[in-house]
């Protein structure tokens, strides 16, 4: 399970890096989003991978740390998702503004010399 998820995160992150290095701003945006998905998954699994362990104490039972998953990374990933979502949306707005103002979607704001 660890190997599968590690490879999956690596592939998504690698694809993100490749896209970030592309010259069109939409590709850069997609790359940033893929990278943030990979990072969110990564944060999620730093609490280790468990099966059948809830992060919360069931009502009415004494808490047993061995039966519970680590709740902190789940809280962290929630915050990271929200912040990443907001900043990516902001980048999208800037991107649209740049497209409208410069007439090109190249990240430099002008087409490269042919």
């Amino acid at each position: 399970m660890e190997a599968v998820i590690a490879i999956a995160i690596g592939v998504v992150f690698g694809a993100g890096i490749w896209l970030v290095l592309r010259p069109r701003s939409f590709q850069v945006l997609c790359g940033l989003m893929l990278m943030s998905y990979a990072v969110n998954l990564f944060i999620f699994i730093v609490g280790r991978l468990w099966i059948d362990r809830p992060p919360l104490t069931p009502a009415g039972s004494a808490p047993d740390p061995a039966a519970l998953a680590d709740p902190l990374p789940q809280a962290l990933v929630l915050t990271a998702i929200v912040i990443g979502f907001a900043t990516t949306a902001l980048y999208l707005v800037v991107m649209i503004g740049s497209r409208g103002l410069t007439g090109t979607d190249h990240v430099d704001g002008r087409e490269p010399e042919p």
Partner: protein, 536 residues
């Protein structure tokens, strides 16, 4: 917890509340918006002064004030910690914000709708980053600061600012992802994100976990170094500074110092003896000095000149931190404060200097008119100040002296104290890296003099058509204020250094932080607790 402990929250809460109040105020209401923002910054200044007095006055044990948010005991909740270093940075932020906001009163603050609220949120993020004692919370405050800065860099919307913002936002989004990876790896290795708890657990880490921890710390450092523009991570900085409107650029100067602050704080806590990564900081910092100096020589535009000046100051700071000698830190802090104030003053001054040149003659103005979206504020009405040219030339010379480190202003005192510490190492012999660093600092000073004087000669002497520009009081005062602070730092160098020495001694004793933060008692509940928690 005493009532005065709540003062730790003021630098975060004041701008947050003020910014929130300012959001619904749309166009118009300029005086009210400015008054509210100004009141909030004055409140921040008062609380920063109070925190400086409390941390230095023996009110808290070891001069460390701890605030447990929501009354959760230290490693579980988020702790805010104020020590002398944090108080110094808060004070610097408040002073700089006061000048930048005053400068924006009549022109920059009146265009766009949300300048004042974004400015407050930026201050909230910066102040929070200085106060927080939790890595993930540091990330949140960084993001608040960055999100506000994205909006502010775009302030006065034009094609150049948009282009600069695209790069600035993309690189900072990537840096935030690195920050998250670093924090996650550190959590995976040590199981906590509270800085003092991390420091306490460092000794007991298994070798495997230690390796993971060091990888995490390295990735985290990369995120900080992108912020503080270390070569080769800082190519975004000159473009962004040159594009941003002057009050925003002045605040950006401080933002590069937040990265250096975070590294100084974390590294002294987590790696007090090991010196992990210090070589990379030292040589990277020196490469940054070379890059910044070369950039200063090659830049024609005043904004870029100031941006490369900020790169040189950042590089000097990082190299000095990386040198890892405890006696250097007080000088480094003095250098940080002095160079930040001078570069900010220079960035504000540039706009006034640009007015000497007749705008209609330049090709750039025509191009910008062709875009027809230039959101540029009107010139302020009313009488200008007298002797505008003399003021501009003298202020420019003062900025140049501080940035280059010439006597008699604070830049010289800063470099003198750095050299004094470098030439008197505790172990007796000076390493080769020490000589290289000194040579680079002297060389970068020389290059700064050359490029600043070239700019000055072109603007003030060789410019035959120069007519005295109209300067408003609200634009002159902030520059004089920032330069006056430099003069104050020079005149009062003795007492300032005594304070900075105490600050430096404090951050070199991680045991004090561990004891204070983890030992901070929670406030007992006012209602008696039942013997066992009942399930709902």
């Amino acid at each position: 917890m005493t009532p005065l402990d709540h003062l730790l929250l003021a630098p975060v809460l004041l701008p947050l509340l003020c910014g929130a109040v300012l959001v619904p105020l749309t166009e118009g209401w300029h005086r009210l918006k400015f008054a509210l923002g100004y009141a909030s910054v004055l409140g921040m200044l008062a609380s920063a002064l109070a925190l400086a007095a409390l941390t230095d006055g023996g009110y808290w044990q070891h001069g460390i004030g701890v605030y447990l948010a929501a009354n959760w005991a230290a490693p579980f909740g988020i702790a805010l910690v104020a020590d002398r270093l944090a108080a110094l940075m808060l004070l610097l932020t408040a002073l700089l914000a006061l000048a930048a906001l005053h400068f924006a009163r009549l022109r920059w603050g009146r265009i766009g709708v949300h300048f004042h609220s974004l400015f407050q949120f930026l201050l909230m993020g910066i102040n929070g980053a200085f106060l927080t004692h939790d890595l993930f919370n540091l990330f949140v405050f960084f993001e608040v600061m960055l999100a506000a800065s994205y909006g502010l860099v775009l302030h006065g919307y034009n094609a150049e600012r948009l282009r600069a913002s695209m790069q600035y936002i993309a690189i900072n989004l990537a840096a935030s992802l690195l920050f998250l990876i670093g924090a996650a790896l550190i959590y995976a290795a040590a199981g906590t994100l509270n800085m003092s708890d991390l420091a306490a657990r460092m000794a007991g880490l298994a070798p495997g976990a230690r390796g993971l921890f060091e990888i995490g710390a390295t990735v985290l450092a990369l995120a900080f170094l992108i912020k503080s523009a270390m070569w080769p991570l800082g190519f975004w900085l000159p473009t962004t500074y040159a594009a941003a409107s002057p009050p925003v650029a002045a605040m950006l100067v401080l933002m590069t110092k937040v990265g250096a602050y975070a590294i100084l704080r974390l590294w002294l806590l987590l790696f007090p003896q090991a010196g992990f990564g210090h070589d990379a900081l030292l040589w990277g910092g020196m490469a940054t000095i070379v890059f910044g100096a070369a950039g200063m020589l090659s830049s024609d535009n005043a904004g870029r000149l100031a941006g490369y000046g900020a790169v040189v100051s950042s590089g000097t700071l990082l190299a000095v931190i990386g040198y890892g000698q405890a006696t250097l830190v007080a000088g480094a802090l003095y250098y940080l404060a002095g160079s930040t104030l001078a570069i900010a003053a220079f960035l504000l001054l540039i706009e006034l200097i640009e007015r000497i040149r007749t705008p209609h003659a330049s090709v750039l103005a025509v191009t910008l008119e062709a875009w027809a979206v230039e959101d540029k504020p009107d010139e302020p009405v009313g009488r200008g100040v007298p002797a505008a040219m003399a003021f501009l030339a003298l202020s420019f010379a003062a900025c140049a002296m501080v940035i280059a480190g010439l006597p008699p202003l604070s830049g010289f005192v800063a470099k003198f104290s750095l050299f004094h510490a470098l030439l008197n190492p505790p172990q007796g012999t000076i390493a080769a890296a020490g000589w290289t660093l000194m040579a680079l600092i002297i060389g970068s000073g020389l290059v700064s003099v050359l490029s600043m004087m070239r700019f000055g000669v072109r603007t003030f002497w060789a410019n035959s058509g120069a007519a005295p520009p109209k300067l408003h009081r609200s634009e002159v005062l902030p520059v004089l204020f920032l330069l006056g602070l430099s003069v104050f730092m020079t005149v009062e160098a003795g007492s300032v250094f005594a304070w900075l020495d105490r600050a430096s001694e404090g951050i070199h004793r991680p045991q004090d932080y561990i004891g204070r933060v983890l030992g901070q008692p929670v406030v007992p509940s006012p209602v008696p607790q039942p013997a066992a928690a009942e399930a709902p």
